[in-house]
């Protein structure tokens, strides 16, 4: 890249849209512990890019994706984000999974006034002017999950999570909710990301005699947790687990013999009905294989590319500020149903769904919010949540 172009950072880097293509960045872990999840997200983004290009591109320009490997290492995410912005001069970046990686890149996007689309459910309590959050915030996933448990008459829960910012913050919210709603939290345990020894935690869960478990474990740990859970004689009937980070892909790798009957809270399942989803699932399987499931973060990532396209076209420009300005009210007929960008928070309206894992490994919806829920990252609309942020 030219030196002057790269150095022009004080006022933000302008994307290079001089040719007949527009570059976008794909920032996911292709190696390390998070590759397990993030590779599928990259695949979904690539699918959207190809579809859009086949349909003529964005503002007449074909999208040229530039991939970088975040390597499951947060500082590397920051380095690669800066590279995509300054060297490749991409118009937008799609990616990141863990909240830790998002926290690492956030200052980079803010400093350079560049756009990130973040496709994973997260803990809320954040709002960056340069990030669009296309996954669920807490009131679109965790709170509905708790409401569901309450509706089922559960009086006590045990909290199990990975030791990082998303589960810890989520559990803080859960505890606030529990206190206000007469739910007892009988214990709270964390395992480091990647940890696979759950003997003690499961013993503690079992001894607590809680009526349900709220699970915010991420990645590999889920496999070990559910195998241990079943071995300890705990079942979906005796003590159901509500998980917020296992989707179809994870179900597939844990094994239905360990999971049948357990609950998940998401905004999308492969089985979600609707023409948009049928098309998405079909296209995905055609490209990546019939045995590859689609999942919520993949769908959110796929949607984010379309949302960006719609924003750009509404703004008539790739310019970041103009695109941001055009965001409010942009809609897309997504696989999960209609989604709408909330310009004020840069989150999107999403439908909340509780699903039950079936014997065939697919998740079927047992409850939904009836329509898109307005995003409320700071839980301002919930009285029990005052003091959280």
């Amino acid at each position: 890249g030219s030196k002057t172009g790269e150095n022009d950072s004080a006022g933000g880097v302008t994307a290079d849209t001089s040719g007949d293509t527009v570059k976008v960045g794909l920032l996911n872990s292709l190696s390390g512990t998070m590759a397990i999840s993030e590779v599928t997200v990259r695949d979904a983004i690539m699918l959207a890019v190809e579809e859009i290009n086949a349909a003529g591109g964005v503002l007449g320009k074909k999208i040229a994706p530039v991939g970088e490997d975040g390597a499951s290492d947060w500082p590397t995410f920051a380095e690669k984000a800066e590279k995509l912005i300054k060297v490749d001069r991409v118009a937008a970046v799609f990616g990141c999974w863990t909240s830790a990686s998002r926290k690492a890149v956030k200052p980079v996007f803010e400093e350079n006034k560049a756009l990130l689309f973040y496709p994973v459910q997260y803990e809320g309590l954040e709002q960056s002017p340069y990030i669009f959050y296309t996954g669920a915030t807490t009131n679109q996933q965790i709170v509905p999950g708790l409401d569901y448990l309450k509706a089922q008459g559960k009086k006590s829960v045990y909290l199990v999570g990975s030791d990082y910012v998303f589960p810890r913050t989520a559990n803080k919210i859960i505890k606030a909710y529990a206190e206000a709603n007469g739910l007892k939290v009988l214990g709270e345990d964390y395992a480091p990301l990647g940890s696979t020894e759950f003997g003690t935690i499961v013993n503690k869960v079992k001894a607590s005699k809680a009526e349900a478990v709220f699970n915010t474990l991420n990645g590999d740990s889920n496999v070990a947790f559910f195998k241990e859970y079943k071995s300890a004689g705990l079942t979906a009937a005796s003590m159901p687990v509500v998980s917020v980070s296992i989707a179809e892909e994870e179900v597939k790798s844990i094994g239905t013999q360990y999971l049948a009957g357990q609950l998940t809270a998401w905004n999308y399942y492969q089985t979600t009905s609707g023409a948009a989803n049928d098309k998405f699932v079909k296209a995905y399987k055609a490209k990546f294989g019939a045995d590859k499931p689609t999942s919520d973060p993949m769908e959110a990532a796929y949607v984010s590319v379309y949302l960006w396209k719609a924003m750009v076209e509404k703004a008539g420009s790739f310019d970041v500020e103009k695109v941001k300005g055009a965001a409010d009210g942009v809609t897309f007929e997504a696989p999960e149903g209609l989604v709408t960008i909330d310009g004020a928070t840069q989150h999107i309206h999403k439908t909340a769904r509780i699903g039950k894992i079936g014997d065939d490994g697919l998740i079927t919806e047992v409850w939904n919010s009836g329509g898109p829920v307005k995003p409320d990252p700071y839980l301002k609309g919930y009285t029990w949540a005052t003091g959280l942020s």
Partner: protein, 369 residues
């Protein structure tokens, strides 16, 4: 070139430092874009860690697989100060209110508001920890693979500890979003350059210090301890102390490197101090040449640069290339890249008609690990 090898070693060293200064202070800033220069600043921080490892491992035989710990201590000490400075007098860093739900600053954070304390701590804290652990471990003659595995476990334990204290350490996130550096705005490219120059200067100064140490009597004694610790004891030295000096100095360097890394990159997190980065530090040293003075610097920069360059060019397959590089260099070039020069020289000599072999200087035995 022949003249160079015969030159007075001090003169040669002086020339070398001059050359290094020209490269770091003139050539690099002129040729590189701001983004690449900031990456170089990061690599140079790793190089500072590597200089210390070169001393402790290359000379002293202490395979320390936990330098990330000291890097982290220095980095966190600096980042804590900068976070407090960013927050402003009397305020708490943003993440604490958010995730820690703390009403006031934890007591152990408070002193870091003082810039002098924080600066001193970046170097002294790692040295202190190294001193504590080293005194225990060396005095009881834990060494070789034992020491290597133990130091590795230390890095793992430190990471777990940091991650578990999210409210006060930032957990896995680490301390991010650092904006100012003693009053200078780090967003400003001019100030980023200043940070680069500081790092380059510190690296050169530490190289000079290390060279002096390596060539001193202490340097010889350190090699003696590496070769035969027990024998040194019978000469009236306590080898634990000899090792301790190298270990503590290396820890101090790693701490300083961590402290400088923070303004250069704007983040410090457990991901930078665990087992993987700690091993990568050591591999950089091995790739460059563990026993040479400049080997570790070259290796650290080469390995970090290769990681960036390879992963940019081959995002899907770069780990093959990285792994292969580690394997090939360490297995087949035990002296590291620094020994290439010697190999080339030897090849050239080999084509010269052989002088009577008996008179030739005896070859240095391969540095045993």
């Amino acid at each position: 070139m022949k003249a160079l090898t015969e030159m007075n070693p001090r003169l040669r060293a002086g020339l070398g430092f001059g050359l290094g200064a020209v490269v770091l202070f003139a050539a690099a800033p002129a040729l590189l874009t701001d983004f690449r220069l900031s990456l170089l600043a990061k690599y140079l921080c790793f190089a500072i860690v590597a200089v210390g490892i070169g001393l402790a491992w290359g000379r002293g035989g202490l395979l320390t697989l936990g330098q990330g710990v000291f890097f982290g201590l220095g980095g966190y000490a600096m980042a804590m100060h900068l976070k407090l400075a960013d927050a402003g007098e009397g305020n708490m860093p943003d993440f604490m209110e958010l995730y820690g739900q703390l009403d006031e600053l934890p007591a152990w954070w408070a002193p870091f508001a003082n810039p002098a304390f924080a600066l001193a701590a970046t170097v002294l804290l790692p040295m202190l920890v190294a001193f504590g652990l080293g005194s225990l471990v060396f005095r009881r003659r834990v060494r070789g693979a034992y020491f290597a595995i133990l130091s590795q476990a230390l890095a793992a334990a430190m990471v777990i500890l940091l991650i578990g204290q999210q409210g006060t350490t930032g957990g896995t996130n680490g301390l991010t979003d650092i904006e100012g550096f003693f009053g200078y705005d780090l967003d400003d490219p001019v100030n980023q350059r200043m940070v680069y120059f500081i790092i380059a200067g510190v690296l050169l100064a530490l190289l000079a210090l290390t060279r002096q140490l390596m060539h001193s009597r202490y340097g010889e004694l350190l090699v003696a301890v590496r070769d035969s610790e027990e024998r040194v004891r019978f000469l009236g030295y306590n080898p634990a102390n000899v090792k301790l000096v190298a270990y503590v100095v290396a820890a101090g360097m790693a701490g300083l490197a961590g402290a400088l890394f923070v303004p250069a990159v704007g983040i410090i997190s457990p991901a930078l101090i665990g087992i993987v980065p700690s091993i990568e530090f050591v591999i950089g040293v091995a790739v460059g040449g563990r026993a040479a003075l400049l080997g570790p610097v070259l290796g650290a920069v080469a390995v970090a640069w290769a990681k960036t360059a390879l992963s940019e060019r081959f995002p899907g397959t770069w780990t093959y290339l990285q792994g292969a590089m580690f394997v090939l260099v360490v297995a087949f070039l035990p002296g590291g890249l620094a020994s290439l020069w010697g190999l080339v020289k030897r090849r050239r000599e080999a084509t010269v008609p052989p002088t009577p072999p008996a008179e030739q200087p005896v070859l240095v035995k391969e540095a045993a690990a």
